[in-house]
């Protein structure tokens, strides 16, 4: 339970840790903190407000993530917490943490390469196979199983794999 024993800094840290433990329902190895979706946690009079930013305009996971944050905070004893969505600044794959990139690779998804500038979006991409590490890969489809992924294939080990697109 939230009591007066905690000052706002401690509360904020606890609330952040709780919110940061929520995972992306479509890529459950990534937390919303790994993704860079979790932007801010504030506490006012013991009430928590969490700010998140959507990844892609149409990403259906956002509704689910909002609900999961509210539930996680409720379970941790925070009452009447609020989740706010902000559009600005726009989310970019540059915000994905190093830990997140490593977890993605281990999960079998190639993490986004380089920076999300226009050059990054359209430059020649070399994506290493998350299975065997070979750079001898090719794109099968720019659009994959979710908004954030493209479908690639490794020409060395012949395995198809998902690539988390630069955005």
């Amino acid at each position: 339970m939230v009591t007066a024993m905690f000052d706002d800094t401690e509360l904020r840290q606890r609330a952040w840790d709780v919110a940061a433990s929520v995972v992306d329902p479509e890529i459950p190895v990534l937390t919303i903190a790994d993704l860079g979706v979790l932007r801010e946690v504030t506490v006012n009079d013991g009430r928590v407000e969490v700010t998140i930013t959507p990844t892609y305009s149409g990403c259906p996971a956002m509704n689910m993530i909002t609900l999961e944050i509210e539930l996680a905070l409720e379970r941790a004893g925070f009452r009447d917490s609020k989740v706010r969505t902000t559009l600005s600044p726009a989310w970019t794959t540059d915000w994905m943490s190093e830990a997140g990139r490593r977890k993605l690779r281990e999960y079998g998804i190639a993490p986004p390469q380089g920076a999300s500038s226009r050059r990054g979006l359209f430059g020649v991409e070399q994506v290493a196979c998350p299975q065997c590490g070979s750079a001898n890969t090719e794109v099968l489809s720019e659009f994959g199983s979710t908004s954030c992924k493209a479908l690639w294939r490794c020409k060395a080990c012949r395995e198809p794999f998902d690539y988390f697109k630069c955005h």
Partner: protein, 258 residues
């Protein structure tokens, strides 16, 4: 219809936002019609993904339009409870899918425009529109690349694919002028740097479009006559049919959720 249409107080900013929202919703719906019918699995997923991007953009824009209007409407009411004459989208985006070449030509014309438009709108003085633009421009960049590759493949492919792509270009060309048209309400938003003057985007649009079309061994029509009407609610017969499907659930079971 079981539910009467809503009334929308169309101030210049509400109307402006609705027009862009309607473009995204209607084109997104058209792309979704391919789901399960595309020529190959990868393309089925690509079209559905792009439809989802557009639907997401539409939702942000509708929510903002409803907020600016402040009359108790919301994204769902704006999408489901306006009649065909209240829709403000471009005639281009409501045109039927036709064959795959026609869908790709329509997509190509719109995506090249949307890409330039959203990039310019990132500098809008309206913070919400600028934020929506920053999100949408990355998505439209992918749409341009996808459509451009198909125009090249279709135009420079077989005799059959070439002639189908050329027919689509010839038929859809007359709907491209509306993208660059401006009325008095929009002019006031342009003057206050909330909106972008689309006429300034036309040279670059034409350069990109003609570049790809020529590389694909296709040709743009020389006729300059352009059809308009969508922005003020005068639509082709196709939009009513589209809306009857898109809206049937909410019109039959008002407020239904699941």
């Amino acid at each position: 219809m079981a539910v009467p249409p809503i009334e929308v107080r169309e101030t210049p900013l509400v109307l402006y936002t609705l027009r862009r929202a309607d473009d995204a919703l209607i084109l997104g719906h058209r792309l979704s019609e391919w789901c399960g019918h595309a020529p190959m699995l990868e393309e089925d997923m690509a079209l559905a993904n792009m439809g989802l991007d557009l639907l997401g953009q539409a939702r942000e824009l509708y929510s903002y339009a409803a907020q600016v209007e402040g009359s108790g409407n919301d994204e769902d009411k704006l999408a489901y409870l306006r009649d065909v004459r209240q829709y403000r989208n471009l005639l281009l985006v409501e045109q039927p899918n036709g064959d795959f070449a026609r869908t790709m030509v329509r997509q190509f014309f719109y995506a090249v425009f949307a890409d330039l438009y959203w990039r310019a709108m990132m500098r809008s003085k309206d913070a919400t529109l600028a934020a929506i633009a920053a999100k949408s421009e990355k998505e439209s960049a992918y749409h341009v690349r996808h459509a451009s590759e198909w125009i090249l493949r279709l135009g420079d492919g077989t005799e059959e694919s070439h002639s189908r792509a050329q027919d689509a270009i010839d038929d859809l060309w007359a709907f491209t002028g509306e993208m660059f048209a401006v009325d008095d309400g929009e002019r006031s938003l342009i003057d206050s740097t909330i909106a972008v003057d689309p006429a300034t985007l036309r040279p670059q649009w034409l350069k990109t479009v003609s570049g790809i079309v020529n590389e694909a061994t296709l040709a743009l029509p020389t006729s300059g006559w352009m059809q308009q009407g969508g922005r003020s609610g005068r639509h082709s017969e196709h939009l009513g049919h589209l809306l009857s499907e898109l809206q049937s659930m909410q019109r039959t079971f008002p407020g239904a959720t699941w």
